[in-house]
Symmetry: C2
Subunit: 199 residues, 2 copies
DNA sequence: CCCGTAAGAGACGGTGCGTCTCTAATCGGG
DNA sequence: CCCGATTAGAGACGCACCGTCTCTTACGGG
């Protein structure tokens, strides 16, 4: 009577069950028993694949959220290019809810690094394009400056998580624009603007 | 035979015991039973005062780490003033070890806000002093700009915690100087430097 | 067709939270 | 100085859930 699942199929079912449980209850109240029951399997099947509850959750998140950015946008303006990347990050950040993260910050931080490992290259390319266009005089800004908007967006994200606050799309848009217009672009123009003295 | 402690005395003993347990094992492996045993009392005495393990830990941290900055430094230079504040923060950050924080981020974030509630006022005063000295043309920088170094230092702190990395004093000093010299001061000079156009 | 692998189901021990219970020390009021 | 209210000190208890172990049985490769 009962048809047994195996391999890929079974694993996908489990990870989707785990993701559903996280969405419903958050990580803290995710139970291995609950996931097994929802996937209609036994705990041993889970423990055969992942060493503990945390790694199961991480696998479920990875399974649901793929890599972030793969290639650099090229809209013809530094502001728009960077804005595109930040919007992607902010959109993604809305999946990282407090319920998902609490109790799981270190693991998810590592995962986020893996997911967005292409970011530094993308930013470098955006800056090179801007330099080629003449928007800025050179693309080799200090690391800290080039990555500044990314760091600030991540900081805002962590801050909301830790305050148990949800991020609305409108808020995210405002924050992202603010970071670019009142911090990043003025700074970049001061360091490498076409009208500034060449260093 | 046994002499019983009460009130303040008992409470201080418990909080010191809790702090000691946190130092030894970290929050995650802090047990209420352990604290009670170390303080030579019963669990009920703890639960009579704090509703759960997390609040006990928060109380212990608050008991050990007092408020951060109370009044603005005034060294005669914007850079040195701000550097002084950042050094205080970085020094304090070295108490917020990964072991202490894991599993307790939201609670400690709230506590940190309480502990450093004087910061915004201090920063505002530092900027006013710089304006009075003529280092900058005006002190009403955008909120995000004025607080930028604080946010970046906090971000670095959270990042180390989440990566289970300790912060050495030398590293902290380097990061703090980098934030001021490659990000904050260039930006402030661009927005309100004496040689920039008055807006 | 047969055997090794792994699924499905659930029992089990262990840890540690938060509650409850009980005795007796201490404090404050009269 | 005594008496009653309070609460310290000690530990048992129920409960939730992790991670391990055991057992039977379906499946698939050779």
């Amino acid at each position: 009577m009962p048809t047994r699942r195996r391999g890929e199929e079974l694993e996908a079912t489990i990870l989707e069950a785990a993701w559903a449980e996280i969405q419903e209850h958050g990580y803290n109240r995710l139970t291995v028993e609950g996931v097994a029951a929802r996937a209609q399997t036994g705990k041993q099947v889970l423990y055969r694949r992942w060493p503990n509850r945390a790694q199961l959750a991480v696998a479920a998140i990875r399974h649901t959220l793929g890599p972030l950015v793969t290639e650099a946008p090229d809209t013809g303006s530094l502001r728009e290019d960077y804005l595109t990347v930040l919007r992607l990050m902010a959109g993604r950040a809305r999946h990282y809810t407090p319920e998902l993260l609490h109790g799981l910050m270190p693991e998810v931080w590592g995962l986020a690094g893996e997911i967005s490992s292409a970011l530094p290259g993308v930013i470098a390319e955006i800056l090179r394009n801007a330099a080629a266009r003449g928007e800025i005089t050179h693309a080799d800004l200090p690391e800290r400056v080039a990555m500044l908007p990314l760091d600030l967006v991540r900081y805002e994200g962590m801050r909301s998580v830790v305050r148990w606050a949800e991020i609305t799309e409108a808020d995210a848009e405002k924050v992202v624009a603010d970071i670019l217009d009142t911090v990043f672009l003025p700074l970049v123009m001061a360091l490498a603007g076409p009208s500034s003295r060449p260093e």
